[in-house]
């Protein structure tokens, strides 16, 4: 016997935040954990722990990328790993005073695009240890690495290169 006309949902105290009643506007929470694979780019992230920056070089046409790419966008051929120099120059920059929610507590922060000698494309990263007025196009910068890796691209960042 499963028919029960007195069946009742259990009540709880979870409740809902209401922002407005006309129109009815409520808070709806949503969160996800992804099982994210870096797949063919995995070596780049592993290498950051060895204080190396790994780009890609086309086996056929020789085009050199400052970010990993298993196939060359110029000719479609396979690439091989290429160890990038750890020193480069600022190609362009900005200072962010606002951002997406995840990084709001880090503002203001500098973003730069780095150009490396002998490399055909750029690398986007953070620059620390300099204010907006200190940064200029052509400024020498060098890569630094986190000791405790987060296993994302922020394991590398740049600082002014004062050795020159």
């Amino acid at each position: 016997m499963t028919i029960n006309p007195n069946a009742k949902l259990p009540e709880d105290e979870s409740g809902t935040i209401v922002f407005s009643t006309d129109p009815l506007v409520i808070k709806y929470h949503y969160e996800i954990d992804y099982i994210h694979s870096y797949a063919q780019d995995s070596e780049f992230f592993r290498a950051l722990g060895k204080h190396k920056l790994m780009g890609s070089k086309c086996k056929k046409c020789g085009y050199v990328y400052a970010t990993p790419r298993a196939h060359c966008m110029m000719c479609g051929s396979e690439t091989e790993w290429y160890e990038l120099p750890l020193k480069g120059k600022v190609h362009t920059f900005t200072t962010c005073y606002f951002s997406g929610e995840e990084f709001l507590n880090e503002t203001p922060f500098n973003l730069i695009m780095v150009e490396f000698e002998g490399v055909n494309s750029l690398f986007m990263s953070r620059l620390i240890g300099a204010d907006t007025e200190d940064i200029y196009i052509g400024m020498p910068v060098k890569a630094k690495f986190r000791r405790n890796q987060k296993m994302n691209v922020t394991d590398v960042y740049f600082v002014p290169d004062v050795d020159k």
Binding site: Y38, Y65, T92, F98, M124, S125, V153
Partner: protein, 420 residues
Amino acid sequence: MKSKGRDVYMVAGGVTKFSKASPDMDFRLRVKKAFDYAMNDAGLTLADIDGSVASYFSDHFQRQLMAGIMVQDYLGLVPKPSKRIEGGGATGGLAFQAGYEEIASGRMDAVVVYGFETMSHVNTWKGNEFIALASDTNFDYPIGGFYTGYYAMMAVRHMHEFGTTVEQMAKVSVKNHGNAIHNPYAQSPMKITVEDVRKAPMVSYPLTRLDVCAMSDGAAVAILASEDKAFEITDHPVLVKAIGTGTDTMRLSDRPFGEVPLLPNESPSDYKGLKYPGVHSFRAGRMAAKEAYEKAEITDPINDLDLIELHDAYTSSEIQTYEDLGLCKYGEGGQFIDEGKPELKGKIPVNPSGGLLAAGHPVGATGIMQAVFMFWQLQHTIKKHFHDDYLQVPNAKRGLIHSHAGTGTYVTVTIMEAVK
């Protein structure tokens, strides 16, 4: 020889007033309002419509997957054919072109392209995050990437390469916010000065709050038809003369340093030593213009076009786009605004509606909004729809609309022409 397909005409359009937040309507009702406006304007009934294209950018904003089918059913268009088009900021432009293809191919005689976005479901900083998810999430997003930051880096390089100034960028903001005062659909009409723009809070150096478009709620609808159907519907259809689309790498850092794809009014000697596109220019915008100009037989854009509605998500990107479209040479975009050429009364009015900066940018609706405003301009019906003819460009015969995604990943250019 590629087949040109059938001629395609725009016969009606509708737009809701764009606003920061309008929680009194959901996306279905918002599209319905724009749809009814367009249908009533052209005297159409549901029986006239063969199918549709849905245009919306982010499932995150909507918190509803398959939102397109909910609009389709709300409008009474089921069980007719439909599909969703998505391509970041260019979603609207791409969807409009998909509608064009439905007619040009002969599959449909009348198609509705509807676009919408409800960005007020989250706060601005969360919205920035959603939009930044449309950048490479392994390499760009995690460093704090947000789109104003990427565009700011492009602006800094444009300034370095060509001597463009922050005051020149500010003039774009002054122009577009000023034009919007006469556009009743616009979100942010404002009479401001260059000083106001520079004194506004810095978002990402050198772009201030007034150099950047806002988040919006809105919807827009365009109805396209074949020649026979178009002239059955209205005596004043507008010809969609040609479409062009370009693409570029997702990562700004992967852009090459090569040569400029030339337009008919340019020569290689114009760009000696310029490494292109680098991070200063939008190659996709250039390629979209090149394709559309070839099809429309435009050889001298500034003289062959009468007005432009372009994707000014940032003041800097409007200046960059003058150059991509060949209104002036690469490097002359700053001077172009200094000389007043894109002003409402200038040589070629750019964003008479106020553009994204002032009319608003509910992503999936934006490119369609441009088509609607261009349609009204070319029909010479701005007064009827705006209840004010201040923004009507006199003698508007041929216009260009331009929709743009990412840091220039997908860009569309569409040429529209008055038939009489």
